[in-house]
């Protein structure tokens, strides 16, 4: 199963039976609105706190994924989840509601593919038959925890990114119909000294480059093997940097299409999102909503999703530390 330096190639590729995607109003105004299962008209979801609203997003995404897979909650053997909040409370509290054996992980915005990779590994290794991978983020919980109060008047620079409000969940199973997870490459923590928390794209780009190159080298696949290579949330600043770095290192990216979920989820020119989207839900809802639907229609056959995460804390950047970053890549084939 292990191939090369840090890639798992699954001999019996696990199936993504079904997915659930739930988003907030800004994502509902974006170009991918029609691909999401549920679009909320407001950020509150009639909950008394932002944190409860985020938790509900995750629970709804999980419910939708499970019911679309024509399963019941009890059929899910494990839930692998994570989010951006301190002590990953969104996932943990959602796991309390689900009542499923639970593994909590933290990979910042790379959590989407980290949980999918782990769920696939569990299924492929025989540790479980049906495993749920899910993650969430909420614009206001993230602003509150990492930046300023949501209503505080401060100007964000054009390099800043807008956290996606939403949640994405996928049911991974050993058998059934659906796209298959054929390989996963685990990222290293890469830090090239960027300290500006309002420029995560530039901080994360080298991590995406490192993981994508490792994946291609480990599997012996050229970029052209994939119809699409998509990064998690590098957005308007990080995505061109990653592309330039890959080309410099001799990766023939012209063989494939190279995109970024943070640029796909919003209409960056029209919506006030600065450089584009970010957050755990960014790559989760774009992959589980938009990309898998395009695979279902036959427009895409093989994709590589490299979800990127900035592993900083509010404490670490106030203490002047640079931003360590990671990317996990998952190969999904129709």
């Amino acid at each position: 199963m292990k191939q090369g330096e840090r890639t798992w190639v699954f001999p019996n590729p696990p199936v993504i039976l079904a997915t659930g995607t739930v988003v907030g109003p800004d994502e509902g105004e974006g170009p991918l609105a029609a691909d999401f299962d549920l679009v909320h008209p407001d950020m509150e979801l009639q909950q008394p706190s932002w944190e409860k609203a985020e938790r509900l997003l995750l629970e709804q995404a999980a419910d939708i994924a499970v019911s679309k897979a024509k399963l019941k909650k009890q059929d899910i053997e494990y839930f692998v989840g994570g989010d951006l909040l301190n002590q990953i409370i969104s996932s943990t509290f959602a796991a309390r509601t689900l009542g499923t054996p639970y593994i909590g992980v933290f990979g910042a915005c790379s959590t989407s593919m980290e949980t999918l990779a782990l769920a696939s590994l569990m299924v492929a290794s025989g540790a479980g038959e049906r495993v749920l991978a899910a993650t969430s983020s909420h614009n206001c919980t993230v602003e509150k925890q990492f930046r300023y109060p949501t209503e505080y008047g401060s100007q964000k620079p054009p390099t800043a990114q807008y956290t996606v409000t939403g949640a994405g969940a996928a049911v991974v199973a050993r058998t059934g119909e659906g796209p298959r997870v054929t390989a996963a490459t685990i990222g290293k923590v890469i830090d090239l000294g960027i300290k500006d928390p309002f420029n995560m794209g530039a901080a994360m780009a080298p991590a995406a480059v490192d993981t994508i190159q490792a994946h291609l080298q480990d599997t012996g696949r050229e970029p052209g093997y994939y119809d699409l290579i998509v990064t998690g949330d590098l957005a308007g600043v990080g995505s061109p940097i990653a592309k330039e770095l890959l080309m410099r290192n001799g990766v023939p990216l012209e063989q494939t299409t190279f995109r970024d979920c943070g640029l796909l989820v919003y209409d960056v020119a029209k919506q006030k999102v600065q450089a584009g989207g970010s957050g755990c839900a960014c790559s989760a809802v774009v992959t589980y909503g938009y990309l898998l639907k395009r695979m279902e229609k036959g427009e895409l056959k093989r994709i590589l999703v490299a979800a990127t995460g900035a592993l900083l804390s509010p404490l670490s950047f106030q203490q002047g530390e640079s931003i360590p970053c990671i990317a996990h890549a998952v190969s999904i084939e129709a």
């Binding site: 008394p48 706190s49 932002w50 944190e51 509150k144 300023y148 109060p149 949501t150 209503e151 505080y152 008047g153 401060s154 100007q155 964000k156 620079p157 054009p158 390099t159 890469i190 830090d191 090239l192 000294g193 960027i194 420029n199 530039a202 780009a205 080298p206 480059v209 490192d210 190159q213 291609l216 080298q217 599997t219 012996g220 696949r221 050229e222 052209g224 093997y225 119809d227 308007g236 600043v237 061109p240 940097i241 330039e244 770095l245 410099r248 290192n249 001799g250 990766v251 063989q255 494939t256 006030k272 450089a275 640079s322």
Partner: protein
Amino acid sequence: MATKEAGKSISYKPMSMSAKEYKQFAKNREPARSVLKNCLRAFLVGGVICLIGQGVQSFFQAAFNMSPTRAGNPTVAIMILLSVILTSIGVYDKIAQWAGAGTAVPVTGFANSMCSAAIEHRSEGLVLGVGTNMFKLAGSVIVFGVVAAFFIGIAHWLFGGVGR
């Protein structure tokens, strides 16, 4: 699109940039920030806020026959109220994104920093939430304001009553 068969041995150049080189590389690729545009907007919005304040003050002077000094206190109260209302209905932060430093003018900006923190942390209760966090952003202004006043007070005492 060419589909290449898997299984070949591939190797690419590893990342060779040092942190210093990468910082410069990334800096060169940041979108330009229009300082002139930001300055103009800040001037415009900051000026408008001050103009409104002046209008309110003139109103108190004319309507209640107050001296400019006495009209100052109710004017500040009205400006705080306006800022708190705009913050509460979720407008102040949108103006700030457009105006930049223009909305940071002392009275309304200060009120916004306290009000936004109070709203944000209401979910953690009145004492530990609102009470503890209300000065989260404004606190440093008060601390350094008091420290600065202390040193200026000493300087004033030492070097005599300029402007007394």
